[in-house]
Assembly symmetry: C3
Homo-oligomer: 351 residues x 3
């Protein structure tokens, strides 16, 4: 269950070089991404109208996507514009998708391109500002994308899944506060005067701060429909203002999570950290990215096995505790968006 | 097709250490096994009532099973007894299973725990007696567990599948005698004055006997419902009484086969040999176990490919020859037990 | 969709040694191939009538196929002729298939053996003549066999899939001419005064001809029902008669493609080249076979991914351009043969 008339992160920019398409399924749509002559990303159905070959096995020539089987060439609108020794005017176009490159990500609208609204792509201020540094990657995960949203909206799992890096007992002991605002959900907690866990010890050291002193730690998970979770995270020396402490007394950033359905039970997980200290330290960015990749990969087995359990027991009710409120509210928004989308389709069909 | 109100071997004791649960599916039930504070094995549904995570990915703390996702703790009855910062009294319990550790195996009753009768766990005398030594292991096999019962109740296959170790032409030539006694089937053969095959030559040598003399060899396959096959096997110097020969003139033991359904077309095969000579020779036990593991793995491809053939031809009748009588009778008992179990359920529902 | 009353290449002769059977599925039939005491190939159902074991896991003893599970022995007609300590007269026979070894291939008739007509096995003149040399192999391909027929009846794909070996732009630019004659289709093109691509440069050199001169190149694809494609290919020094040029002025041969359904969406692809120059140069045959294997393996990903695309969009219409005429006509013949076969079965059932 996912809305299709929405923006999803579909790829990282360097996954789509100038000369090669990228084939990727997003929300059950098989799509070939490529760059046109201006370097603008295009997205078309990954299906050659000639004989059904995947266009993504071809190459890009002069900004056109060339089928690797018999040479049909397609433009960014999915229209065939050339094929050796053929008149192509009557060839059926394949579907084109609305796609935008912005803030360091490729955003896809898998639904009706006519409804796509580029101005609703989330504004990622940190992606535009030089005092932030971003590093991240993408995982393929064999579970419903909503299990990943649940995961990220309830960080008590850090204590168990990531016990050697970001987990600490005090997370469980600090009840989260959750509130809903339209298509957004925020669930947050603060921990005062706790010892920093290893990941944040390293962060403090990297920012020139002591790693053996009590800190105030915060986690502010912000869900934005359809499936983005951006989490303010950080530690400040205890009693200096926490989240609002001066920059030189804290280490902080935003955990970036773009969670994109592939099918009903698989998804693409774009993860990363926007770091708000030592932004010009590329080695630190690389090392942090490496470490985060290790930590976040710890969730994979749990999520994929949870999916198998839920698929085996589809009717079974789960608990909805206070710690689950973030995920529960996010799912309600998703359900409402899906219902609205279905109703919209129904309305159109009646009209 | 398998009865669920019955004892099955589910694991070897060292598969369940004190600090880690074991996840294993038995008779279509996904189960987490763990040891409580007394070291007693417990078996609960492998499903966290919080969010459906597999409990078997967690750990054991103070005899409680702790979910590895968000820290819910469960006791041996499947009741949640703790969770950080939560009141757990109203949490639904998950199913608990009757389980016993006895004779060096973990026995599970996958059906209604209220009906479990620990006194019907088979008594394995050799497991209690110091003049016997046991070595064994477990295989996962992708076929109906009844194909393994058939396999073990018709040892003419040794001549073909195990031609270089325990097979010999005289097995085929000695028709078996089969008899049924309640939920038990015995099918047996004797071979008089034959040369021992390589496995038994090694056995004779290990017991200080010549390996180049004719022997009397016996195979007494004992099926016990639901799916245990214990086989008296051995060789004695020819003419000295065979099975009843004095211990110093023979090499003998019991092939142990506990055959536990995982699903309709897969099973866990617990195999081993209880050896009745040189019981204190641990090196011999290890070497024999290694060799038996090699020999028994020769059956795997045949059984799994047989399953594929039968799945492709589900209606096809098979032959039931005299050599098949053991398996045929065992299947009849299984079918009767399943019918009784279904009738019992029906009776209860009427009541 | 494939006719079953037809001859298909099922194996290469050396895939069936004297002592070992070969298990292979042809047109959804699981078959065990073996050689009888005269070395003649036999084909029987790969299903032991005793307990359903695959006969292909057994061995061949004195020209009989012996089951590797319990020793049942079968003759070339699928009749059980022996089993240790058993009377086998009443054993049901398994199905036997008509099979012939001819022209260096094993030909199977997967349908009704009573209808098999060995005289309709294609005559491969090159396989009998000493001035031709053959080298080839077999691939397992996960797509409908008709996609491979399409592939071979439209060689414009060489320009894209095989751009570094046999592809060249002029293929696309030379429209093919297609004609149908009963159960045969020919689609052909000629290219005059073109530079030879690398594969043919090597061919010219091997035949003592210059590799840097313009040539006339030809491709005559001959489809013969049910699924054989034999392609006259070659290059001659330009203006010397092309296909009809004297042998010393050209390098030519026949690309051999026997395309045998395994299931609806998988097939066995027997490929090779019958070379019509330097026929006694075994090293050249080996090197050419190696190179052809590399080139033809370039098609695999495209075909298998095309199959996935078509399976995901079963209703979608494909284009039928002039370059597709060969495949389109071949498919029409296959459809007619299947319809005739179905009608024949219906007629028989009425009778």
């Amino acid at each position: 269950m996912f809305p299709k008339n929405a923006w999803y992160v579909a790829a990282l920019p360097d996954e789509i070089p100038a000369d090669k398409p990228l084939g990727r399924t997003i929300c059950d749509e098989r799509i070939a991404f490529f760059r046109d002559a201006d370097g603008r990303v295009a997205a078309v159905e990954d299906f050659c109208p000639h004989r059904g070959a995947p266009m993504s096995l071809g190459k890009v020539c002069g900004g056109r996507l060339q089928c690797g089987y018999h040479g049909l060439e397609m433009d960014r609108d999915g229209k065939t514009v050339a094929m050796p020794a053929q008149r192509v005017r009557g060839f059926p176009a394949v579907r084109r998708y609305a796609v935008e490159e912005r803030h360091g990500f490729i955003w896809l609208w898998p639904g009706d391109a006519a409804l796509a609204t580029p101005d609703t792509i989330p504004d990622l201020a940190w992606a535009r500002q030089s005092d932030w540094a971003f590093g991240g990657g993408v995982f393929h995960v064999k579970c419903d994308y909503r299990l990943m949203i649940d995961n990220l909206m309830d960080l008590t799992h850090e204590t168990y899944v990531h016990s050697t890096s970001i987990g600490q007992k005090e997370i469980d002991e600090a009840p989260p506060v959750t509130r809903v605002d339209g298509d957004r959900v925020v669930t947050e907690r603060e921990m005062h005067g706790v010892m920093p866990p290893p990941f944040w010890q390293a962060g403090l050291r990297a920012n020139g701060l002591p790693d053996d002193q009590p800190v105030d730690r915060w986690q502010k998970c912000r869900f934005v429909a359809p499936s983005n979770v951006l989490i303010d995270v950080g530690v400040a020396l205890a009693g200096k203002g926490g989240f609002d402490a001066p920059a030189e007394l804290k280490a902080n950033g935003i955990v970036v999570d773009f969670i994109t359905p592939e099918t009903a039970t698989t998804h693409w997980y774009f993860w990363g950290l926007a770091r708000h200290f030592k932004a010009d330290d590329a080695a630190l960015t690389a090392a942090t990215r490496e470490r985060q990749g290790q930590i976040f990969s710890e969730d994979m087995e749990m999520l994929e096995r949870q999916q198998l359990n839920l698929s085996a027991h589809p009717q079974r009710a789960l608990l909805k505790l206070n710690i689950d409120a973030g995920g529960v509210q996010a799912r309600k928004i998703i359900e409402r968006l899906c219902a609205e989308e279905a109703a919209g389709v129904a309305t159109k069909e009646v009209a």
